[in-house]
Amino acid sequence: MDSEATISELLAKIQFPSGVERMVLVNGHQANFSTRLADGDEVFIFVPVAGG
């Protein structure tokens, strides 16, 4: 990824299906589409389909 890429770009890059509800944590904090990533950031993507 480019430095300062956004979550939106990351999701596109890994071909995360659009229209699927998801939550994204960056270093343990809730992030949104425009959150910018830095080197070494840990991104956690989670799909809360059925309550969990």
């Binding site: 939550m23 944590l25 343990g28 809730q30 989670f46 799909v47 389909v49 059925a50 309550g51 969990g52």
Partner: protein, 610 residues
């Protein structure tokens, strides 16, 4: 009546008499069922000041109007009594198949009073109801009791029973149904044991009658299609890896996985004990409760020497409590420990919390080797197993662990090391990183519980709406709304897992839109949204009044010293503590309670409680 069966069974254990009575339709509508009806009867008939293990205490098992229908996850029932661990009201909830069978047997509520002179079990076989001797079952484990009762009654019958822990009055004994499902918290199993009631066995027939079958089918079609499509687009983590596969990574990443008796918020061994590892190493099959499309249950088998066994679990709360909290990173040992808790009928959460507390007492030198019958060191997997067995039978040091962490820590002069609220061990979400979760623990009517409003889910996942987990301002309003709606879920007979994602309005108010639709189709009672939410609020206030009469007040809406005064030194929640007092001020105001946490006359009148 539709949905409700309209019948209550009263079992006077002292006299050995069973008597049926009708359920008042207005009471049913006002309190919905399950948890709501439980507190209705407790407030009407129980003495809130009674000794929980005396014959004076009442034990209530109540299903909801949706329980036993095919509405998704309509599998739950509630055990309500005065809990021996806490002295507070209990809301011990369980699923499986027993609750559905209770409804098929034509009952909404079972009320047990008094104490039998000798061990008995209740056998509800359609219209034939009898109390039978249970002397031959006394001392048997949960699976052995269940198997014996299946053979001597009917293999189709469903069993809820206690194990040796309930008989020995372990203060956190569970009532186990369908072998592996637990009404776990607050010691409801000890109340059953104190009454010499070993088991309840039910067999019914047919299905729960619906007021508007066509409408019900329409709702089912829409709700289940939506669920299936979502699951197709991205597989449900809860189905794949269970609650332990959802919450273990999430709490770890958010830095709120309670570790080492809440001294840390992350656990270096978390990957070894998460659900993904469980799936890979031990999962045999997934297990669903009645009418559940998720199947978060795990049937597992462990082959490692010393930990061999099979059964259900562990789910997240068990994995955190017997794992991270005790610094145990051995999943075989945790799973085995879970099997033993199930066999003996013990709440895994309080068990883990109490052992973690003993480990810290020992580590700090407040508890000696001699007093504890040997060293109790962080992370000792063999010791974990040994202590659970001792606790279930109240042998050796287990007799002290059987009292729960508060009494243990108090006995050794350091009650502040018990990670409890209202003496109930806290769940697996450290509230220092989740402010609303902290307020919810402190104000939950049963004490430290995550199930009376799953604020942790909202604060970590940002669903239904993203909120800042570290902000305390404004959380009181959300906690109140969620607590009221969760009372509706608990009363209707649904499981929170499906419901929070699929049957609530996706705004922060989480209005129970889907539940309203189902309830009206099932009962024909014509609820409107205001009545339904009010019914939840009524239950919360009725429970609060029980607590007030039992002597609880603001001082008991508390959290351990550690969570309010000792910030984390690392992780996403670094430097944070729970701002409890500030949130309590806002909370009481939102609730219409006095600053001492007592519902005002105006609030009680508004809810028809005065």
């Amino acid at each position: 009546m539709y949905g409700w069966r309209g019948r209550v069974l009263r079992v006077d254990l002292a006299r050995g008499e069973c008597k049926e009575e009708n359920l008042d339709p207005q009471v049913a509508k006002d309190y919905i069922g399950g948890r709501g009806l439980g507190i209705y009867y407790l407030n009407k008939e129980a003495n809130p000041k009674c000794d929980p293990l005396s014959p004076e205490n009442m034990l209530i098992m109540a299903a909801g109007p949706l329980t036993g229908t095919s509405a998704p996850t309509a599998a739950r029932y509630m055990v309500m009594t005065k809990g021996p661990l806490t002295g507070a009201v209990t809301c011990s909830n369980s699923g499986g198949h027993f609750p559905k069978e209770l409804k098929r047997a034509n009952f909404d509520v079972l009320i047990f009073t008094g104490r039998a002179s000798k061990p008995v079990y209740l056998w509800v076989n359609k219209d034939k109801i009898e109390l039978r001797p249970a002397g031959h079952l006394w001392g048997k484990t949960v699976p052995d009791t269940t198997n014996a009762l299946s053979s001597e009654t009917d293999p189709r019958a469903r069993v809820a029973c206690i194990g040796p822990a309930g008989e020995k009055l372990v203060l956190f004994a569970a009532i186990m149904n369908d072998k592996y499902r637990a009404a776990g918290r607050s010691g409801v199993g000890a109340v059953m044991g104190s009454k010499n009631l070993k088991a309840v066995v039910v067999l019914g027939e047919g299905s729960v009658p619906l007021a508007d079958k066509e409408r019900f089918n329409e709702i089912q079609e829409r709700v289940l299609t939506k669920f299936r499509n979502a699951a197709k687009a991205a597989p449900s983590l809860l189905s794949q890896h269970g609650t332990i596969g959802v919450m273990m990574p999430l709490t770890q990443k958010c830095g709120v996985l309670p570790t080492k008796n809440f001294l840390q918020g992350t656990f270096s061994g978390w990957e070894a004990i998460t659900g993904q590892t469980l799936t890979q190493k031990y999962l045999q099959k997934t297990v669903a409760c009645w009418a559940c499309p998720i199947a978060c249950g795990r049937f597992t088998r462990v082959g490692e020497p010393g930990f061999e066994g099979e059964g259900e679990g562990p789910e997240f709360e068990t994995g955190f409590a017997l794992g991270a909290l005790c610094m145990v990173d051995n999943l075989a040992a945790i799973t085995k420990a879970n099997y033993i808790c199930n066999d003996l009928g013990l709440d895994t959460m309080t068990m883990g919390g109490t052992i973690a507390c003993a480990m810290e007492l020992f580590d700090r030198g407040y508890l000696t080797e001699k007093q504890a019958g040997g060293p109790i060191k962080w992370g000792d997997a063999q010791k974990l197993i040994e202590l659970i067995k001792l606790t279930g039978y109240r042998e050796g040091f287990g007799n002290e662990l059987a009292e729960g962490s508060y009494r243990l820590a108090e006995r050794y002069g350091h009650p502040e090391l018990a990670m409890v609220s209202k003496r109930l061990e806290l769940p697996g979400y450290d509230p220092r990183g989740l402010q609303g979760t902290g307020l919810n623990y402190a104000t939950s009517p049963i004490g430290g519980s995550h199930c009376r409003a799953h604020m942790a889910y909202c604060e970590m996942v940002g669903i239904p709406k993203p909120i800042d987990p570290h902000e305390w301002k404004g959380k009181a309003r959300i906690v109140k709304l969620w607590q009221d709606v969760f009372a509706v879920i608990d009363s209707a007979g649904l499981c929170i897992f499906f419901t929070i994602r699929n049957l609530l309005y996706p705004g922060i108010e989480i209005l129970p839109e889907g539940i309203l639709e189902y309830l009206n189709a099932v009962t024909g009672a014509g609820y409107n949204m205001d009545e339904l939410v009010k019914a939840g609020e009524r239950t919360l206030n009725a429970e609060r009044m029980f607590l007030v009469k039992a002597g609880f007040s603001r001082k008991d809406d508390s959290l351990p010293h550690r969570l309010i005064h000792e910030p984390f030194s690392e992780g996403p929640a670094k430097g944070k503590v729970v701002h409890l007092e500030e949130m309590l001020e806002e909370y009481y105001e939102e609730r219409g309670w006095s600053r001492e946490g007592i519902p005002t006359d105006a609030k009680l009148k508004e809810l028809g409680l005065r």
